[in-house]
């Protein structure tokens, strides 16, 4: 059974504005604390963590209509991983951002999930300060 962790946060900024940042695979390091760099090449992305570890990923989906971005880690120790960022329009000028992590081994979901919560907090700070 997969481990699954989900965090969500309401951001007082339009869904389009938030999607512009959160949906751009090359800008993850701008709002995910602990990721120092992103390099995108087609459907491949490599993020480098603050501890200096490069994590190769495969971009699975980037849907502008749904405002959904999905990716998975491409590491031998990870049997399954799916990271999903959804930006949901609340139709009042704000949006709900949902960051889900599903993983096998299950512990990986917890480990990554500890970072995604902080990422949402930072995304909210950036978007609301900027707005």
């Amino acid at each position: 059974m997969y481990g699954t962790v989900r965090h969500e946060l309401r951001i007082h900024r339009s869904a389009d504005d938030v999607w512009e940042l959160a949906g751009d695979p090359a800008r993850l390091h701008e709002w995910f604390p602990g990721i120092d760099a992103c390099e995108v090449d087609g459907d491949r992305r490599t993020v480098t963590t603050s501890t200096g570890v490069p994590l190769p990923e495969i971009i699975v989906a980037r849907d502008r209509n749904l405002r959904r971005f999905q990716y998975r880690l491409d590491l031998p120790i990870v049997a399954h991983h799916r990271g999903t960022i959804d930006v949901i329009d609340l139709e009042d000028g704000t949006c709900l951002v949902v960051y889900s992590t599903d993983a096998d081994p299950r512990t990986m979901a917890l480990t990554i999930g500890g970072g995604t919560r902080g990422a949402l907090v930072e995304l909210k700070r950036l978007m609301e300060e900027d707005g």
């Binding site: 602990g34 990721i35 963590t49 501890t51 081994p105 299950r106 970072g115 902080g118």
Partner: protein
């Protein structure tokens, strides 16, 4: 001449594993010698049996209910009190070399300062000099980086602390097949015990004779996994045999006093009127 404080810790070791405390299996002549010349604090007890809470107490002087680190995985607040900061503010040179573990290790995004490369070469919680190590040569700590840089071929020699499911590994090995036991072919000088000692000696040699200093030399062993370098595994297997007999009894090894123990009818190993000279048997009050 300044004041010198060398704080030496081992990890997950029962107090009676030491010869000076009655241990019969391991050979600990150096510590026994120190004990024979010094003071054994028999009423000193850890405030938690778990690593992070206990270490946080050593650093802060607080109970776990105060510093808040009630279990491994719960990080010590960055602004928690620190004996190192107190001493540094009074002019001491300070260093922590070895296992810190005030914050969680499993930290791929570097959420905790202890795991960041920049911290590993600089100030941390009042320690001017900080070089970190743990049981594994993996990850961002100073020892792991040293292995990766200087002896990359050794990284795979250690016991894998986590299994494929990233849970604590139960794989057995060694002569007994017991979990977390592993024959480690690494040369002794590359193993973290010698590394911590060597790095500590190096730091001490960098000091001036009249410096006041406080150094926490924090060995990760004998905490599991039990994967010591081969040169140490062999004598350990001989404990009680020829290797043990090389240590003359009564020199740096605790002796039981002959005072009968009313609870057992045998020689006293609990509080009694000990008649032995140093080192005294465990439990006997200091005279």
């Amino acid at each position: 001449m300044g004041r010198k404080i060398l704080f030496v810790t081992t990890d997950q070791m029962r107090y009676d594993a030491l010869g000076c405390n009655g241990g019969q299996l391991a050979r600990t002549p150096v510590v026994d010698g120190l004990a024979a010349q010094g003071v054994r604090y028999e009423r000193a007890v850890p405030q938690s049996v778990v690593c992070m809470p206990s270490r946080s107490t050593m650093l802060t002087g607080q109970h776990p209910s105060t510093h808040g680190v009630w279990m491994n995985g719960v990080p010590l607040e960055p602004d928690a009190p620190s004996v190192a900061a107190l001493l540094r503010d009074h002019g001491y040179r300070t260093a922590l070399i070895g296992k810190a573990h005030f914050q969680p290790f499993l930290d791929p995004f570097g959420r905790f300062a202890e795991n960041l490369p920049v911290t590993s070469a600089g100030e941390h919680r009042g320690f001017d000099h900080f070089e970190s190590a743990t049981h594994s040569p993996m990850g961002p700590l100073t020892y792991a980086r040293w292995i990766a840089t200087e002896h990359p071929e050794a990284a795979g020699m250690f016991y894998p602390v986590l299994d494929a499911a990233l849970e604590v590994n139960a794989m057995g090995g060694g002569a007994t097949g017991a979990p977390q036991v592993h024959d480690n072919p690494i040369p002794r000088g590359w193993y973290h015990t010698d590394w911590v000692a060597d790095r500590t000696i190096g730091w001490l040699e960098s000091l001036e004779a009249d410096d006041d200093w406080f150094c926490w030399m924090s060995f990760p062993d004998p905490h599991h996994p039990w994967d010591p370098p081969g040169v140490r595994a062999a004598p350990r297997a001989m404990a009680g045999g020829a290797a043990a007999r090389r240590i003359p009894r009564g020199r740096g090894r605790a002796r039981r006093c002959s005072t009968p123990n009313p609870a057992t009818g045998g020689p006293g190993t609990t509080a009694g009127s000990c008649r032995t000279t140093r080192p005294r048997c465990r439990g006997c009050p200091r005279r």
